[in-house]
């Protein structure tokens, strides 16, 4: 029997949480996920996702993205960004999900998916465009196979299902060829899980068996509201009333996350329909740079979660394996520092856009009203330039 169960235990807290790496780094074997991780599942021949080299890579990725994240917070403090939503503490949940997806999968993020973006090869400064306020979205979704960052909570979930319905129509589901079959990973938070559009997405995905994996990072908070307000039972159970199998994993355990996401995506791409994953993690920072978490959550809780830090955990695991040394750790830290510096310079060097961009891309085809307003604007702006010149 799969760990993806449709059985909801009668008592809520009986919902198991799969953990492959204990906080002290100890690896527990897992019946189902081990084969997924070592590539022997589904007929074998797949990539081994847990070679020492890969594990070190995940470690490095997490260090890098945390460095970028901290730098972004400081850039915000310097007035270089309007806002920053830190993903601190969610690195395993994000790097794991990003690497568990295959390059041809389509990912549909929220606004806090910096680790996912990193794993997908999206440079951090592209994310910052939005937070700086120079664009509403910094990349081509088709090229990077990653949807834009989305602000209206839950709104992206039906897009994910629709995209997956498109994959079905394109014949890219259930062919049996790993490089052909494609799935969609739809991300949203514990808070967003309450939005009606997420529920409708479950309905559509289940009805059409669209290859969609819904993935919630339950980081315990939706701004100041604890997850218990969104659900009295573990969120993982939410989807089962639609017949969508689901699982709860430790989101600070990069291997548990990878096992769950890879196996769910593979099931979806094989034509077995949608899946749902709850990754239990923690938003270590405030909601955003505008937020003050001390108003609503106890420091003790933050402390408790600090001990479950996903980066530390993987490092301990690598140490137990004897696969990481001081020098590697140091090099990662340095590279993280370099990345932060690059980011710093990149952002400080960014010029503000010409406001005439306001009128661009409202429509793909010519539009007389927008065109007329652009003209007016240019004439009007020219007045001021003339005045400037005249001085």
């Amino acid at each position: 029997m799969s760990v993806f169960q449709t059985t909801i235990p009668a008592v809520a807290d009986q919902e198991p949480m799969i953990q492959l790496l204990a906080p002290d780094g100890t690896r527990t074997p897992h019946d189902e996920f081990d084969a997924v991780l070592d590539g022997s599942a589904g007929g074998g021949g797949d990539d081994d996702l847990q070679t020492p080299e890969r594990l070190r890579g995940y470690y490095r990725d997490m260090v890098m993205i945390r460095a970028a994240d901290l730098e972004a917070t400081s850039l915000q403090r310097q007035g270089q960004l309007g806002l920053w939503a830190s993903a601190l503490g969610q690195e395993a949940a994000q790097i794991g999900a990003g690497h568990a997806s295959r390059a041809h999968d389509y990912l549909v993020p929220t606004y806090r998916e910096h680790g996912v973006a990193w794993a997908r090869g999206i440079e951090p400064w592209r994310l910052l465009e939005m937070f700086r306020g120079i664009s509403h979205g910094g990349w081509d979704p088709a090229e990077l196979r990653t949807h834009p960052y989305m602000i209206v909570l839950g709104s992206q979930a039906p897009h994910a299902v629709g995209y997956a319905m498109g994959l079905q129509r394109d014949g890219l589901v259930g062919t049996g060829d790993r490089d052909t079959d494609t799935a969609v990973l739809a991300l949203f938070g514990d808070g967003a899980s309450s939005e009606g559009e997420v529920a409708e997405s479950f309905t559509f995905a289940a009805s059409f068996q669209a290859p969609t994996v819904f993935y919630t990072q339950n980081n315990q908070w939706a701004i100041s509201v604890p997850t218990a307000v969104q659900s009295r039972v573990p969120l993982a159970q939410r989807s089962r009333g639609w017949g969508i199998p689901s699982v709860r994993v430790d989101g600070n355990d990069v291997l548990a996350v990878m096992g769950a996401v890879r196996s769910a995506l593979d099931a979806a791409r094989a034509g077995e329909g949608p899946r749902f994953i709850e990754a239990v993690t923690y938003r270590m920072a405030a909601h955003t740079t505008s937020d003050d978490a001390s108003r609503y959550r106890p420091g003790a809780e933050e402390q408790e979660w600090a001990e479950k830090d996903p980066i530390l955990r993987l490092r301990r695991h690598l140490e137990q394996l004897g696969e990481i040394g001081e020098d590697y750790v140091k090099r990662c830290d340095e590279e993280g520092h370099d990345l932060a510096m690059q980011l710093h310079h990149h952002i400080h060097g960014m010029e503000d856009p010409d406001p005439v961009m306001i009128f661009d891309h409202v429509y793909a085809e010519p539009h007389p009203v927008v065109d007329a307003e652009r003209e007016q604007y240019l004439e009007y702006a020219a007045q001021f330039e003339d005045e400037e010149t005249a001085r």
């Binding site: 081509d140 979704p141 088709a142 995209y163 793909a364």
Partner: protein, 333 residues
């Protein structure tokens, strides 16, 4: 795009002209697909998609679960995957559960992505009152969409426009809301699927020339405007009638050209006058034709109330008397 047409010039009711437009678009491009409630086996509650499920199958004519946000939201995803979804909202009053998707997603995806994503999708909405229906089946929400940048809105009022606007809405790289004049669905007209009309769908059309005042209408109110002009003629008043056709973008030049000639404008629509699209047009016309207007632009529309029970709707909706009354008023100025 290959032009595989369902037939030659023929006479069709508006509903069937849309069917033909959908069919021909689906034959021409196999990425065109339909989604909505009851559009499959039933052919839609107005039978607009009748026969298409049989011809194109369940993957291209999709009976969806009952959730408008889901319908529009999945269409966004399909469009981003390269499809051209045409979504049916069963009645105007049921578009509101999809309002978030339309306003924050459909309208803004192209802008959000700096033009990297185009979102060619059509949202078809049977629109307007006068059919004796229960609550929520007679709404005219066009002003809400017209205020939302990023959307285009077409309102066919004839069978020929119904056919071609369907085709052109589907061909558009921008999302288009197509408001179908529900109470006129069964009015017949000539349709020529072989000759693409010269007039752009985004332009208004002068249906009847006149000299004393201009009547501007769209969708279900167009036949009323024509009827009014006919009646006025008997009283010796010559009215120019314009079918606005595109509600976004507004084709102002066609309207102002006319108003500069007639000096008077009466706008007819079913939506409540307060905050209706007529206000925007009146404001713009007054700005551009300030010295040509002999009388204030006058609007005839629904009252500033919710749509009333069906047995009173005759008094709520613009009718011949109310239009002629407004014409009298502008002429008396």
């Amino acid at each position: 795009m290959t032009e595989t047409r369902s037939g030659h010039a023929t006479t069709l009711p508006i509903a069937k002209a849309i069917t033909a437009g959908l069919r021909d678009a689906m034959r021409a491009d196999d990425h065109v697909m339909l989604m909505g409630e009851d559009i499959g086996r039933l052919g839609g509650v107005f039978r607009v998609t009748d026969g298409l499920f049989d011809e194109f199958g369940a993957l291209r004519v999709v009976d969806t679960p009952l959730g408008e946000a889901g319908i529009v939201g999945t269409a966004v995803g399909l469009a981003m995957r390269g499809y051209r979804p045409v979504v049916e909202i069963q009645f105007d009053g049921f578009v509101f559960p999809a309002f978030n998707q339309i306003t924050t997603q459909v309208a803004k995806m192209h802008y959000r992505t700096g033009g990297r994503v185009t979102l060619p999708m059509v949202i078809r909405i049977p629109h307007g009152g006068g059919i004796g229906a229960v609550e929520h089946h007679s709404e005219s929400p066009e002003a809400l969409f017209a205020h939302t940048a990023g959307l285009r809105i077409l309102a066919p009022a004839s069978a020929q426009d119904a056919y071609w606007m369907t085709r052109q809405a589907i061909e558009s790289e921008d999302p288009v809301i197509m408001l179908e004049p529900k109470k006129r669905y069964w009015i017949k007209g000539d349709v020529d699927p072989d000759h693409r009309p010269e007039l752009s769908p985004w332009q208004a059309r002068v249906l009847r020339e006149g000299t004393d005042a201009t009547l501007l209408a769209w969708g279900p109110s167009v036949p009323l405007a024509l009827e009014s002009a006919g009646a006025a003629e008997e009283d010796g008043t010559s009215l120019e009638v314009i079918d606005l056709r595109s509600l976004a973008p507004l084709d102002l030049p066609t309207v102002t050209d006319s108003v500069r000639r007639t000096g008077r404008l009466v706008i007819v629509h079913e939506a409540p006058v307060t905050g209706g699209l007529g206000g925007e047009i009146a404001a713009r016309v007054a700005e551009e034709c300030f010295y040509h207007l002999e009388a204030p632009v006058t609007r005839v529309g629904g009252y500033s109330t919710p749509y009333p029970p069906a047995r009173t709707e005759h008094a709520y909706l613009p009718d011949l008397d109310r239009v002629l009354d407004a014409v009298d008023r502008v002429l008396q100025h």
